[in-house]
């Protein structure tokens, strides 16, 4: 054991991992010091998650050496990683959807009295952790029934309970709101002082700069640079992430009250209720307008878009799309009417994970929309899919790759891309940038504006306040299932205050 490795919690040399023709990791060399918060950033498919999975024993590398906390391994198993005190929160949540919350918190680490699982004892450990991260969900709820944001927090609680010496968080805030994110950042910042090293993967650079002592940028499976935060600024990091490609940015919209007042309404909602989370929401979207929905988790903002789309039953209120009142809301009718929903939970309701990128990209055009003839040509579908892949820069070996093999951000691009074929008149965007890298986010926003400029209406929900304030003409604030007010031209701070008041 040399002295260097005592200071370096992780040293990897020449770490490589290939999947078929894809080099997920390509000779990565990296040393990370102990008792710090390390941010790992890079574009979608850069190999961040693959690296994290190798460190946690979930994936075996093809080549390279790993030294963790002074011990050298050629590879290690999940069991040996957990013995070393490595805990990981996966980007694609690894929860047991059929099982209750408490069970998910102690997977294979259940406490027992005699041979029997001691639920009370486990609950005593879990509740303080829940409190510290602001999670409020009964321990006996089935995990599959709680919202995605809560699931993400449950996954976080799970790893915190392990009290790991090395804590890996792979995009922990991608489904969280500003308040939850902030709480999490505060918590993470305090960890190094307690002897925990944190690896923090995120596409939200403001968070990264708020929390990290040290930033590592990866591209195409290799290291770009790894420096203390104090030596870096956001443009430099973005430059590192996107490489030669020019880093573009998105201009803030300056909305005005009556810009769209006279425009035709694409969507009018009056007193909408689904009897559960959505109780009394009224709003409208004009042609060409981008309207944001802001609200805390549990405010009903999450469920609003699904209700409008017909994915959840409506019990009261009226919904008018392009001047026609929709008495029977259903996904089927919505698709036919040219209404698109980009759902937040891509894994559960967005993708056919076992099928190819091409199959997924034709989900709407062939599946729901009935474009073209009864016969379908898979060659034609693949050609159409290629276009979308190019347009969104989806990183995939071919369109015949299983979509589940794509990196998280690239999966998200597939979920958005599949709607393109039918050029919808009203787009419901439910947290569409979850896990999407900065380059792609800029591209996506540009596209959203382009769609709006064609006279389409856009309803946009996001967990990131800055996305709302940047992109939207107007923002509807939702609280306890009721739309309380509409605002124009607010900045982030003001909006956070409005949501929380």
């Amino acid at each position: 054991m040399n002295t260097q490795s005592v200071h370096n919690v992780i040293s990897v040399r020449g770490l490589s991992k290939r999947y078929g023709g894809v080099k997920a990791l390509n000779g990565l060399d990296l040393d990370l010091a102990a008792n710090k918060v390390h941010a790992i950033v890079g574009e979608n498919g850069a190999g961040k998650s693959t690296f994290m999975k190798i460190l946690s024993g979930g994936v075996t590398p093809d080549e390279g050496s790993i030294e963790v906390m002074g011990e050298k391994f050629s590879s290690f198993t999940v069991q040996s990683a957990s013995k070393l005190g490595i805990g990981i929160m996966y980007q694609e949540l690894r929860l047991f959807q059929h099982r209750d919350v408490l069970t998910n918190l102690f997977p294979d680490r259940e406490m027992r009295i005699g041979p029997f699982i001691a639920r009370k004892k486990m609950a005593q450990i879990a509740l303080p952790v829940f409190k510290s991260i602001g999670l409020d969900v009964p321990l006996d709820r089935i995990v599959g029934e709680v919202p995605l944001s809560d699931q993400q927090l449950i996954e976080l609680a799970r790893v915190l309970i392990e009290k790991p010496k090395l804590l890996i968080l792979d995009e922990p805030t991608s489904a969280l709101n500003a308040r939850e994110s902030k709480r999490l950042l505060d918590l993470v910042k305090a960890l190094p002082a307690q002897g925990t090293t944190v690896l923090y993967v995120s596409h939200r650079l403001d968070e990264v700069f708020a929390v990290a002592d040290h930033i590592t940028v990866m591209r195409n499976g290799s290291l770009v640079f790894s420096k203390p935060t104090t030596e870096l600024d956001i443009p430099t990091v973005i430059g590192g992430i996107v490489g030669e490609k020019a880093a573009s940015s998105i201009a803030k919209k300056t909305g005005s009250a009556d810009l769209y007042a006279s425009a035709e309404k694409v969507l009018e909602v009056k007193n909408l209720s689904n009897g559960k989370q959505v109780l009394d929401i009224s709003l409208n979207v004009a042609a060409g307008e981008i309207v944001g929905v802001a609200g805390l988790i549990g405010s009903g903002a999450d469920e609003l878009l699904e209700t409008l789309f017909g994915a959840r039953p409506k019990v009261a209120g009226t919904v008018t799309v392009q001047g026609v009142e929709k008495t029977h809301l259903s996904p089927q009718n919505s698709v036919r009417d040219g209404v698109a929903l980009i759902p937040a939970d891509r894994k559960r309701v967005g993708l056919m994970l076992e099928r190819t990128v091409s199959d997924n990209l034709s989900h709407i055009s062939v599946g729901g929309y009935k474009k073209g003839t009864v016969l379908i040509s898979y060659k034609g579908l693949a050609a159409a899919a290629m276009k979308i892949v190019d347009k969104f820069a989806i990183k995939t070996e071919s369109v015949q790759v299983r979509v589940g093999n794509l990196s998280g951000g690239n999966q998200q691009k597939v979920v958005i891309g599949k709607w393109l074929e039918i050029s919808p008149g009203l787009v419901l965007l439910d947290d569409p940038t979850r896990g999407v890298d900065i380059g792609a986010k800029v591209e996506l926003f540009r596209l959203v504006r382009e769609i709006a400029a064609e006279g389409k209406g856009i309803l946009f929900r996001s967990t990131e306040i800055s996305e709302l304030t940047t992109l939207c003409d107007r923002i509807v604030v939702v609280k306890d299932g009721v739309s309380t007010r509409e605002v124009i031209g607010v900045d982030d701070g003001e909006l956070i205050k409005l949501i929380n008041e």
């Binding site: 967005g350 199959d359 034709s362 989900h363 709407i364 016969l375 071919s398 369109v399």
Partner: protein
């Protein structure tokens, strides 16, 4: 590497492994008893298993959708009973055939509507309807066989061609079933209907949100299974010249086995129609091979089991090899 670039390696079809397993079995029986390989014998074997192959080809649709139908054997039975009784009652043969197939479709539709309305998996619903269809068959045939014996019936071209009275180089039933497989394959893999079935099987909730009319597709697929079972019943009636109350009772396991040996997973979202044909032939070769080799009745069950394990083992080894190579 650019997305969409064709890999230069020649791609073996998905069914390669199971075809290999079939060839190994045929080879073993043929090596021990060369007469087994006579084309005539192989064609007869294939014809005997063609009805269960046909059903396996269609159960692939349900498996692809993540469902299983337990009732199709009794749909086959009752359809054949309906057609046979109609013929005996004097209905023209062709109309009786349509009545039989229609009855099959109707029963399939009932399964579909019940599974959609009750919001229960098809396997649970057909646990009940299997008994209902069997019961209706028992009532309508008075627990006896239905045998259209009158000359004007048995001399009808339908019975003569199917029953093999009119000589064809390849048994007619085999030609028909191969044609049906072509249609089933194209429908599952080249039409919107097939795409939707696979989409539902892959992720039902995502399919619903993509605007796919999942209920309608479920009902249609169940109806298709009913129609194909009905056709199976008609073929059975023509091929065998009679329907017994027990006809179809023992179809479930070999048919589902054929589909899964053929490579269709039970979990939904994927399926191979041709694979199920090969699977049915494997089941057939095992069954006939054992009597061909003169294996004693007491030992034949054990040998059957060992050969099944051997066949799926061969299949699996080739499959794993192939995936590793690609």
């Amino acid at each position: 590497m650019s997305a969409g670039a064709k890999s230069r390696r020649v791609k073996l079809p998905e069914e390669a492994s199971v075809i290999f397993a079939l060839l190994v079995l045929v080879g073993i029986v043929g090596a021990l008893r060369p007469t087994f390989l006579k084309p005539e014998n192989l064609l007869n074997l294939a014809a005997s298993y063609s009805i269960s192959a046909l059903l396996a080809g269609c159960i692939v649709y349900l498996l692809s959708m993540g469902e299983i139908d337990l009732s199709f054997g009794w749909i086959l039975n009752l359809s054949a009973v309906v057609a046979g009784l109609s013929m005996i009652a004097g209905v023209p043969v062709w109309i009786a055939i349509i009545l039989g197939i229609g009855a099959g479709g109707f029963m399939g539709a009932i399964n579909g509507v019940l599974t959609v309305v009750m919001r229960l998996p098809l396997i649970i619903v057909t646990l009940g309807t299997a008994s209902i269809f069997q019961g209706l068959s028992l009532i309508s045939n008075k627990s006896g066989s239905v045998v259209p014996t009158e000359k004007k019936l048995t001399e009808n071209i339908f019975f003569r061609v199917l029953g093999g009275d009119i000589e064809t180089p390849v048994p007619f039933i085999l030609i028909f079933v191969v044609f049906a497989f072509l249609v089933l394959h194209l429908t599952l893999h080249k039409t919107r209907f097939g795409y939707r079935i696979l989409a539902i099987g892959s992720n039902p909730e995502a399919a619903r949100l993509a605007g796919i009319p999942t209920k309608k597709i479920k009902i249609l697929t169940c109806t298709l299974m009913g129609v194909v079972s009905g056709i199976g019943g008609i073929l059975f009636l023509g091929f065998r010249g009679a329907v017994d109350p027990s006809t179809g009772a023992n179809l479930l396991l070999p048919v589902v086995a054929a589909a899964i040996i053929g490579g269709t997973p039970l979990s939904g979202g994927a399926g191979t129609v041709w694979g199920s044909l090969i699977g049915a032939l494997i089941v057939g070769v095992i069954g006939v091979g054992i009597v061909f080799l003169g294996i004693d009745a007491v030992w034949s069950t054990l040998v059957t089991g060992l050969v099944i394990i051997f066949a799926i083992g061969v299949d699996q080894i080739v499959r794993v090899r192939k995936n590793r190579a690609s």
